[in-house]
């Protein structure tokens, strides 16, 4: 049994599935040393420390999908919390860490699309999209990246989701089709049209 206190603040991005822009310090707790199958088993058994490690392992992925889709940190945080609460409810049905990842991607994606449709929010998130200190991506052109993010945010929600999953998560079109319950040809079409639209938009602004 993992003994780490569930509410001890642990400012960590424990065991990220892939590198993130800014690495956080990673103080150890017992659950962080547990391998994935054991971690899932412990979390299923009600071990909150194990579930906390599971959250920290995947929080950057879920949060980033939401942030790139919604372009609002508060909204992305809220959505990420909801996704992990739903994960907690569905833990008993998940069988492996890979299953957890695909489940999180699918649920986060659908929730983002629902949220965008519900709010029709294009004008709503104007003030909180600026890069924050310590959160800037390690790109050679931060402002170019920001501009590109803003342009991606202008895409229709499903096309935007496809682009985010393709380039943030580096998922293959078949994986995206499965996650979004979408025909593979539709995924490819979204990608092709989105890239063309983004390229055209960049060219019209004097880039590329």
């Amino acid at each position: 049994m993992v003994t780490a206190a569930p509410f001890g603040r642990t400012d960590t991005a424990a065991l990220p599935a892939r590198p993130v822009a800014v690495a956080a310090p990673s103080p150890h707790c017992a659950a962080q040393d547990v391998s994935s199958p054991d971690l899932l088993t412990l979390a299923k058994a009600g071990d909150q420390a194990a579930f906390a490690v599971l959250i920290r392992r995947h929080q950057n992925m879920v949060f980033s999908v939401a942030l790139h889709m919604l372009r609002s940190r508060p909204a992305a945080e809220d959505l990420a919390q909801e996704v992990f609460l739903e994960l907690y409810r569905h833990l008993s049905r998940l069988e492996s860490d890979a299953h957890v990842v695909s489940w999180l991607r699918r649920v986060a994606s659908h929730r983002c699309i629902d949220e965008i449709r519900r709010r029709n929010h294009r004008q709503e998130f104007a003030t909180d999209t600026l890069p924050e200190p310590g959160h800037s991506p390690q790109t050679r052109d931060v402002f170019g990246a920001e501009r590109l993010q803003a342009m991606v945010a202008e895409l229709p929600e499903k096309a935007r989701m496809v682009v985010v999953l393709r380039y943030q998560e580096e998922m293959e079109p078949t994986e995206i089709a499965s996650a979004l319950s979408m025909p593979i040809n539709t995924v490819k079409s979204h990608l092709r049209r989105s890239i063309a639209a983004l390229r055209e938009s960049l060219m019209s602004r004097g880039r590329v």
């Binding site: 603040r9 892939r18 907690y88 409810r89 959160h135 590109l148 993010q149 682009v163």
Partner: protein, 110 residues
């Protein structure tokens, strides 16, 4: 730089708030995420079956009421038509009697 690489750079994963897990756990402990197996009757299969049965019972009751009303309306229309026929027959009979009664009077008057 090509478009694919620019998009990869722009859409890198970002750091989630460090206290996200703590906030999720706090909400779990506030009862906001009861596991599916521990949820109340609102989500159980038995409750859904009971709700479906209640809906079916209401629908069946409504259908029966509607059928009864239709039957009553048809019966009323039938009785009304029979009454009209009876009144017509009575009227015709009275007209014939009236006609017969008036014939001797006319013949005796000659």
């Amino acid at each position: 730089m090509n478009m694919d690489q620019e998009l990869r750079d722009a859409l890198q994963r970002k750091q989630a708030p460090p206290d996200l897990a703590d906030r999720v756990l706090a909400r779990i402990n506030n009862g906001e995420a009861a596991p599916a197996s521990n949820r109340g009757p609102g989500s159980s299969g038995v409750f859904r079956w009971l709700a479906a049965a209640a809906v079916l019972a209401i629908a069946a009751g409504g259908a029966e009421t509607y059928y009864t009303q239709q039957q009553q309306a048809a019966e009323t229309a039938r009785v009304k038509q029979e009454l009209q026929v009876a009144l017509q027959i009575t009227n015709d009979t009275l007209a014939r009697v009236q006609s017969k009664l008036s014939q001797p009077a006319e013949s005796s008057g000659r």
